[in-house]
Symmetry: C2
Subunit: 193 residues, 2 copies
């Protein structure tokens, strides 16, 4: 498969089978992320691969509880509004019940943090696609990265207070029918020749 085929095949998956992917598959996905470029090749991104159901459950409940405490107004980003509204109703699973959550963190205040983590997560998504494994980008822990309760929990699983969450991936075998491809009108692109 050419790289463009993999790029075209990749689609966000939001319904996952509960079985774990193999260790070999997990290693390939992680390796793809580790090989991503980083500013000055500093490789300060930190990946935490959560495959333990107990931790996933605790995290899910914690995120729901913290969003449920929040309020929004007309300036709030639409997806954060949805997170708050659903959490207040008690029904919110920010990671779509995936058997794996990969959390990508970097140093707080570091200028390349978002770019470096995004490039790593991008590589992981493509590697997973080639292996027929579904992924979905998850922003909720990034939105809550300054939340004290969330920070305390993340410390317990090895993410220190001087790290910020830049993004996450839900990962697992897809349990989603093969829907029609997402239509991409394409970002505006100008050529100056």
């Amino acid at each position: 498969m050419s790289i463009l085929d993999v790029i075209k095949k990749r689609k966000s998956v939001r319904k996952f089978k509960q079985e774990q992917i193999t260790d070999e598959e997990m290693q390939l996905i992680v390796e793809a992320g580790q090989l991503a470029p980083s500013g000055h090749n500093s490789q300060t991104s930190h990946f935490v691969v959560i495959q333990k159901q107990e931790v996933l459950n605790e995290l899910r409940e914690l995120v729901k509880a913290e969003f449920a405490k929040m309020e929004f107004d007309e300036t709030t980003y639409s997806s954060i509004k949805t997170s708050i509204t659903l959490s207040k109703k008690g029904k919110y699973n920010f990671m779509y019940n995936a058997p794996i959550l990969i959390v990508a963190t970097n140093l707080r205040g570091y200028g390349n943090a978002m770019a470096d983590c995004s490039l790593a997560l991008g590589n992981m998504m493509l590697m997973a696609t080639e292996l027929n494994i579904g992924t979905c980008w998850i922003n909720q822990l990034k939105w809550l990265t300054d939340n004290e309760t969330v920070k305390k929990y993340l410390e317990k699983i090895g993410i220190s207070a001087d790290e910020m969450v830049c993004g996450c991936l839900s990962v697992g075998y897809s349990d989603q029918p093969n829907l029609a491809p997402v239509i991409r009108k394409g970002n505006v692109t100008d050529f100056i020749k």
Copy 2:
């Protein structure tokens, strides 16, 4: 080539041949970027592909002039220090003399701006690698995205004031010997199973 092979092959190129890549190659690179995921599939990233030597020259001189006006102290990020120091000496080409600069912008203040642009630029780097075309991530226009003189120039080439530069790529055929691969110790990765 498997996607992991492309990921392993990708290396930052900082010395370029002056000839243009073909239009077909350029289109494939742009397409790879346009197909990257974006928050809510909103596709607000905007790509400006500069292949006109006159514009590249003006931009290079402008960036040098603006960095030359800046000062730094011990808290300044090391690469910004280098940009300022070299610019004050009058010898600074922030884009390594590449025949193409791709500028990726997004809406100022938009929470997914950096992630969306980074994922698009990441896809472009991998597509270019498969085509044996060199790339290098360029941060300087991002660092200067609030600079009024730079903003004014960017407006002239179609980047409006409500857009911010998230990242750029230098693109072209490599004129760099095949150096040994960059050693990646690998980002710290923890598994919670």
